[in-house]
């Protein structure tokens, strides 16, 4: 059994309204040192696989087919 963490974020240059609104609110609360906030979505996936490499390969397919949209997203896969 492997536990995989998939982090899906936005490509550089794609607007992140949730991130920029969070930045504004943090600044207003007095966290003036905060210069940028980006939001990420994390999926923690438990799965069976013969090896770590296989697990990573399957997780990559999951990203391609459902978890992210290649037009705006980048993603990172980790075994934890």
């Amino acid at each position: 059994m492997f536990t995989i963490e998939v982090k899906v974020g936005l490509k550089k240059g794609v607007v992140d309204p949730e991130g920029s609104n969070t930045l504004k609110s943090l600044n207003l609360l007095g966290f003036e040192e905060v210069g940028s906030v980006k939001t990420l979505k994390v999926f923690r996936i438990e799965m069976e696989a013969p090896s770590k490499e296989d697990a990573l390969k399957r997780a990559d397919e999951m990203c391609q087919r459902l978890l992210m949209n290649p037009v705006i997203h980048t993603y990172l896969i980790d075994v934890i």
Partner: protein, 277 residues
């Protein structure tokens, strides 16, 4: 084909909430709509009498709503359900020239499915566009002005004059259309007559910023079709303004016609099916 023979599948799954208005629009124009749950097409319906095939229908409608709670991305889960079960049937449906329409969540589903913009194939393996979060970060729910800019390819808008401005409401949080490879994609979209509706201001000007453009979509694009014109998606909701009384200004303006600005979309597509099949 007669209008009364036209069968329309209004496709449902959990979280869709505009199916009744969409159904009513077709029924009131004399067609034969039917609610079809995705499980009926997947043949996972509890009673086999409820099994349905896409080929039984002449028009496929993907209604608005929040299918599967908009989890992952708006429309992504419904799109994967369709693709994994009836993907091939849908490709055949589109290639036969049958109309497929999607409003709001329906448009998001079509983009995630890869049937829009669909310029590399009828249904691309990976999405070639996305409907990203509105620039405002808000759910934008109000009337919007749309100019019809299609030069004649789209079968869903033949009853609307080119450059006519119509008022059709929007209600979405993710409506910012972003295309892959933007430097080429937008030129291609305009050149191939795939742009159908654009947000404008009261003067019909496309330079109109927020709030006229509710989501930040580039070139104010609100709705597009594929290059054969039968597959059409738009973020605003024409089914919500089928009647004039659904317009916010119907009483003030005392317009005597009773049809709302959205009705022509349904009339156009029925016209097309009557003529073509």
């Amino acid at each position: 084909m007669k209008v009364s023979d036209i069968r329309v599948a209004v496709l449902r799954m959990e979280g869709i909430n505009c199916e009744q208005e969409t159904y009513d629009a077709f029924e009131r124009l004399g067609a034969r709509p039917e609610f079809v749950h995705i499980k009926q097409l997947e043949k996972r319906w509890p009673d086999s009498g409820g099994y349905r095939d896409l080929e039984e229908y002449d028009i496929l409608m993907l209604p608005g709503g929040f299918s599967a709670g908009d989890y992952i991305r708006a429309g992504a889960i419904f799109a994967s359900r369709i693709k994994s079960s009836v993907g091939k049937d849908l490709v055949r449906f589109i290639e036969e020239g049958k109309p497929v329409g999607g409003f709001c969540n329906g448009f998001q589903i079509m983009v995630e499915l890869g049937v829009l913009p669909g310029y590399s194939s009828t249904m691309s393996d990976r999405p070639e566009a996305v409907l990203h979060a509105n620039d405002s970060g808000n759910f934008e729910c109000r009337p919007a002005l749309l100019k019809m800019v299609n030069r004649g390819s789209c079968v869903w808008t033949s009853r609307i004059e080119k450059d006519e401005v119509r008022l059709i409401p929007v209600a979405h949080a993710e409506g910012n259309l972003i295309l892959d490879d933007p430097d080429r994609a937008y030129a291609r979209l305009f050149d191939s007559d795939m742009v159908v509706f654009r947000y404008c201001d009261t003067e019909g000007d496309f330079e109109a910023p927020y709030p006229y453009n509710p989501n930040g979509s580039r070139f104010n694009i609100a709705g597009i079709c594929n290059d054969t014109g039968n597959v059409f998606g738009m973020m605003p909701h024409p089914e919500r303004v089928f009647d004039r009384i659904a317009h916010p200004d119907w009483y003030r303006k005392r317009i005597s016609r009773d049809e709302g600005d959205g009705r022509a979309v349904f009339e156009s597509v029925l016209d097309h099916v009557v003529k073509r099949f």
